[in-house]
């Protein structure tokens, strides 16, 4: 007995010692930044305290009995084995408690389900392994991917301490920006497999399902940055597709919208300009790191049996149009990049892989040529890449 006590004490010390070393851990659900998330938190605490009270009563009785009704204390066993009264009581009381939980839960459920009277809509599409955001009201449209610093640090044996990366694995290249105090309706779907969109501070998560649309709503009360992750296992990089939502004051948001529209125009004109092969290769390297390297590896070696190598690949060293075709439409586990990348990025990475990673084909393709091919793609996502 003494030994076990010592062991227990040592473990407790170890546990408390370790956790005091870092201060930013949390124990409980966050209250979040919306009315819904606070309601959820309230219900969570309500049920939690009910469980605590029941636990104290049941475990209290059990441990009283374990202590006093021992053979070593000389306690003689009584031989009762049923009591209709008490059995009815401990069936009815839990039923009443359940009703006390079900009523607030039902109210909250109805509230969360009500997407009526929303002021704007954002369509979220899950991809392996990034998020696509489309603002239905003003046409802003972009992809959001794990940021470069996290992506470098998370490679096996990267030698980079994750603690030195700000918001490791919870940061993206292009966050979702929303105005505060605005009822936003989200529409969810997916392009390949099922994902799930979760920002804890908003109070819910919703699955994104290929071929189907789900809905949910939020209205963020405080300006700030809110982080979350994909929560439905979606393949190799499931752990590496974070979500960042920046809630801005309404004026700031309007400014951001104007800025995005300007950027879209710039991008369009960049696609029509003539690029040199060197420019494309330089840009393509970054695009490759952000979009391709997680499967085909940083050096283009791929992973035997699962992801083909880029280096010396017959597709990459063969006809450029066939290569572009495959990248546009995807194949098997390879996503269709046709709509995911801008014409410039697409042309850049297509050129890069033919002239880098150990390949020396020597040709290139212009963004304008890609743009022509992209406009021939079907409008909506989710076209099926038959196995």
């Amino acid at each position: 007995m003494i030994k076990t006590k010592q062991l227990f004490a040592a473990l407790t010390l170890m546990v408390t010692g370790l956790s005091s070393a870092h201060a930013d851990y949390t124990l409980n659900l966050m209250e979040g930044a919306t009315e819904l998330s606070r309601d959820v938190y309230g219900l969570h605490m309500w049920v939690f305290w009910i469980c605590v009270v029941i636990g104290i009563i049941v475990f209290g009785a059990m441990f009283y009995s374990i202590y006093y009704h021992r053979k070593s204390m000389g306690h003689k066993a009584e031989q009762f084995h049923e009591s209709t009264t008490i059995e009815i009581l401990w069936t009815i009381i839990p039923t009443v408690i359940l009703v006390a939980m079900a009523i607030p839960a039902t109210k909250l459920m109805l509230k969360m389900d009500n997407v009526q009277e929303s002021e704007m809509s954002i369509k979220v599409t899950g991809w392996q392994w990034k998020w696509e955001y489309e603002y239905m009201d003003n046409g802003i449209h972009f992809f959001s991917t794990l940021d470069e610093a996290s992506n470098k640090a998370r490679q096996k044996d990267s030698g980079i301490d994750p603690r030195s990366v700000p918001h490791y694995l919870l940061n993206v290249d292009k966050p979702l920006v929303v105005p505060v105090n605005t009822k936003i309706r989200f529409l969810f779907t997916a392009a390949d497999v099922i994902h799930s969109w979760w920002v804890p501070d908003l109070g819910w998560k919703k699955d994104t399902i290929p071929g189907f649309i789900n809905e949910a709503w939020t209205s963020v009360e405080k300006a700030g940055t809110y982080r979350g992750q994909c929560t439905e296992l979606c393949g190799k990089d499931h752990g590496f597709m974070p979500i960042v939502v920046i809630a801005m004051e309404k004026e700031d948001y309007q400014e951001w919208v104007m800025e995005q529209k300007g950027l879209a125009l710039e991008e369009a004109s960049a696609a029509t300009k003539e690029w040199t092969a060197d420019e494309l290769i330089a840009k393509g390297e970054t695009v490759y790191t952000n979009n391709c390297s997680s499967c085909h590896m940083g050096d283009g070696a791929g992973m035997a049996g699962t992801f083909p190598a880029i280096t010396a690949s017959s597709v990459v060293t063969g006809d450029i149009d066939a290569q572009v075709e495959l990248m546009m439409n995807g194949k098997g586990m390879m996503p269709a990049f046709g709509q995911m990348l801008s014409a410039v990025d697409f042309a850049a990475v297509s050129t890069f892989i033919r002239n880098g990673l150990g390949n020396e084909v020597g040709d290139s393709i212009q963004p304008s040529a890609i743009q022509a091919k992209q406009s021939a793609l079907p409008e909506d996502e989710g076209e099926d890449d038959d196995e």
């Binding site: 851990y25 059990m62 069936t91 939980m101 490791y168 998560k205 296992l233 989710g382 099926d384």
Partner: protein
Amino acid sequence: MSAATAEHDDHHDHGPEKGLLRWIVTTNHKDIGTMYLIFALAMFFVGGTMALIIRTELFEPGMQFVDPQFFNSMTTMHALVMVFGAVMPAFVGLANWQIPLMIGAPDMALPRMNNMSFWMLVAGVLLLASTLFMEGGAPASGWTLYPPLVLQTGNALPFAIFSVHLLGISSIMGAINVIATIFNMRAPAMTLMKMPLFVWTWLITAFLLIAIMPVFAGAVTMLLTDRFFDTSFFDAAGGGDPVLYQHIFWFFGHPEVYVMILPTFGVASTIIPVFARKPLFGYSSMVYATAAIAFLSFIVWAHHMFTVGMPMAGELYFMYATMLIAIPTGVKIFNWTATMWKGSMTFEAPMLFSIAFVVLFTLGGFTGLMMSLAPVDFQYHDTYFIVAHFHYTLVPASVFILMAAGYFWLPKWTGNMYDEKLAKLHFWLSAISVNILFFPQHFLGLAGMPRRIPDYAVQFADWNMISSIGAFIYGPSQLIFVYIVYKTIKGGTGEKVTDEVWEGAKEQSLEWTLPSPTPYHTFAEPPKEVPTMSTGR
């Protein structure tokens, strides 16, 4: 009658065959039970090794040891091996050993099928394990095998599906055998409401198995045709629906988790009265509660899917139905507490594991109740909170009770006493480390850590490290159990046990009326009387 049997006796009363053949062709319920138990224990360590690989990678943030794809294979295979290779076969092993002994039958009703179902299990699990070495790796889509993701599996997919078919056939045959045995082979005095609760819970479990295994086999067959024969059951582009798979899967999957917990309840209800030296409190309410839980398990499946976007009516229905499970489960926990109340308790290893089960399973029950509330589950779903919840209902529940059952019946089976000191060490190491392992996972989930991720944000680092330390203690300390079992079989402490082994056990159940060690053939003639203390009638 007795004269005829006596004449047959020298013909029938032979021991087992010699050598390896004994185990391959045996139809003896005790031999088959032993093989199931040993196989399950071996798989417990295989699945446990996979868990330790997972916890090693999660010890610190950053990717140090495995690739994300292999990590996903590990979470998938850990679950499949533990569910289908360890916990389920272990309970089938206990059923094989104990059901005939507890109802006064000479063997299982269908001994040859019994042998076949064991060897099919071995084939199924080996086939599943072989996928680890295939091109593209083992399945990495989680044990739920959700499409479309699972359709991206490499060469392993058809093998994994065929393995599920084999495991399903094996389970169904085992279940048929249990039902046939219980309905046809009870001693005349053993009426249904005099059966020990372990037999009752297994009878109900067997019906669950027969109902659900074909459903699972159907679901995975649809995956097979979607992948290879151009059907579109789960493909929206062809008019199908990926969520349909989830409905079918969880129609199987929810009763499946009760397949692992109902026999657990049965063993706990058998052990606690013996060490409290009292009859079980509320025998008939225990039977009805088990039946009620089994029934409810069929109508609550979509609580695993609150976030898939069901209609409001569906969400509310599945929420209410799920909450109802708390009532019969509560009755069971109150009954166990009342059984201990005013008893004369001693705390040998089986009792310690059983009490830990009641306490820690109740914690898992509390989190289950929290998750039944759909709007709050939107936060909990697919986080480490869920991982903590179902591990509390499986490890310190099913696995602890399997250990308890081992210590409880091993002296009966072998005639030797196990080493109580070592067993207590095993218990305390397990009970403490299992909480270090799983309790912090509640905090991780609530703080926002999704499940099935190979790497995590740094604010989750501390609790993950503590959880991994718990795993590093819990895993190896199970080797103590292997050592104790081995020593007990080889002679134990040297102290020969009495027939009833535990004080007063004869009053509780039939197996303790037999000699220790249990002879190779038992109850060639049914017992005239059955103990009534455990049933209170």
